[in-house]
Amino acid sequence: MSHSDTIPLHPSSQSDIDEIENLINASPATVLPARPPSPPRAQIPVSSSLPPPPPKPAPPKPQPHSFPPPLPPPSSSVPAPPPLPSSRPEIAASGFGPAPNTLTEPVWDTVKRDLSRIVSNLKLVVFPNPYREDPGKALRDWDLWGPFFFIVFLGLTLSWSASVKKSEVFAVAFGLLAAGAVILTLNVLLLGGHIIFFQSLSLLGYCLFPLDVGALICMLKDNVILKVVVVCVTLAWSSWAAYPFMSSAVNPRRKALALYPVFLMYVSVGFLIIAID
């Protein structure tokens, strides 16, 4: 006679099963195996990410039997990017909350964003701002378009002013400025300073803006005294613009070591401007 089906379970095992059932019914999410909280995607950027993240393995709701929810909203489809209201004028470095999806924004938004970034970088770097907060923080959103345009413009102006050997002048100016920016950055890095390579390149390029203006004026007016005065003023302006960033990047005792080559480079460019005829 086997009464196995009517034999009550051992009290302890019954309570074990009860425990497990309570756990499941109470908080299903916790029953799941220990998985990392969310895929540590490298792309949870402060400024842009995917919109509601793609189907997570278990939604944080008590649905133990549900499988991943359906596809995210059709914002990530292929043929024609729907115009999401996504772009902000500049990428703030502290964007918490729903960040815009830059993957599917319309092209015009990208263009506008980049253009406004150039303008804001220029204002930040070059124009006098006595209330500037942490100078090392500006140019967080570095970009190389501004420096590119300024270097090319300076080369073009110098080349135009030259009456002979125009191509050499242009090539020399461009090479000097580009290589100079790289070498100056390396200099700061080798002095033990904390600066990011592209940020520094970007900065040194933007600080050429005053010299560009000076070169333009010198090209239009050929008076030597005027040239000297203009070059001195713009040189001072450029060095003054570069000073806060460079000095905040290095050890205070090595400030001069970092700043002197920058000044030297701008002086040499100034000489080029004056000497071109």
Partner: protein, 183 residues
């Protein structure tokens, strides 16, 4: 299978593909033809480098997004460190990407870099330092894009694998818990 169905898909984004190729081809063509017709190095330099820079921007910001759903950029976080960010569409959308589009994207990327390197070798042989400057800039831009997108693709693959293994784990555990509740 319907025999009348077109077997090959067409380009899904013909305009984007066109622009993707346009600036690359324009830069290369201008460089080649200018050596024949234009005597002024400055113009060659400025126009070629400008076209190459525009191409870099278009590939990075527009065609990368639309043709292959990838994007990369660099940010400086609050600690002052430089962080490279990679972004991709989710897996279903990536799987739906037009094969022709992505084939065109990657192949033109590689071919352009190879073409510039070949021109660079020619310039080196002829010892033209100033043309080497132009080519140096164009090669740098092409290679930057290649590296950026390759890293982005690898990162995307890694995430999809992670996601797949997590989905498997969660499905397994939810099956288990449903089994438990039935018991």
């Amino acid at each position: 299978m319907d025999p009348n169905q077109p077997v090959t898909e067409n380009y899904a984004n013909p305009k984007t593909c066109f622009f993707h190729v346009l600036f690359k081809a324009a830069a290369l063509a201008f460089y080649i033809l200018s050596a024949l017709f234009i005597d002024n190095f400055v113009i060659i330099f400025v126009v070629t480098v400008l076209l190459a820079a525009l191409d870099f921007w278009v590939v990075k910001n527009v065609s990368g997004r639309i043709l292959v759903g990838l994007r990369w950029w660099n940010e400086i976080n609050d600690l002052g460190e430089s962080v490279w960010k990679f972004e991709c569409l989710d897996q279903e959308s990536m799987a739906r990407m037009n094969k022709k589009d992505s084939w065109l994207f990657w192949w033109t990327l590689y071919l352009t870099a190879v073409a510039w390197i070949v021109f660079g070798i020619f310039s080196l042989i002829r010892l033209q330092a100033d043309y080497l400057l132009v080519i140096g800039v164009c090669v740098t831009l092409s290679i930057a894009n290649i590296i950026g997108f390759t890293k982005c693709k690898k990162d995307a693959k890694k995430q999809f694998q992670q996601f797949a293994s997590q989905t498997l784990a969660s499905r397994f555990s939810s099956t288990l818990s449903s089994a438990f509740s039935v018991v």
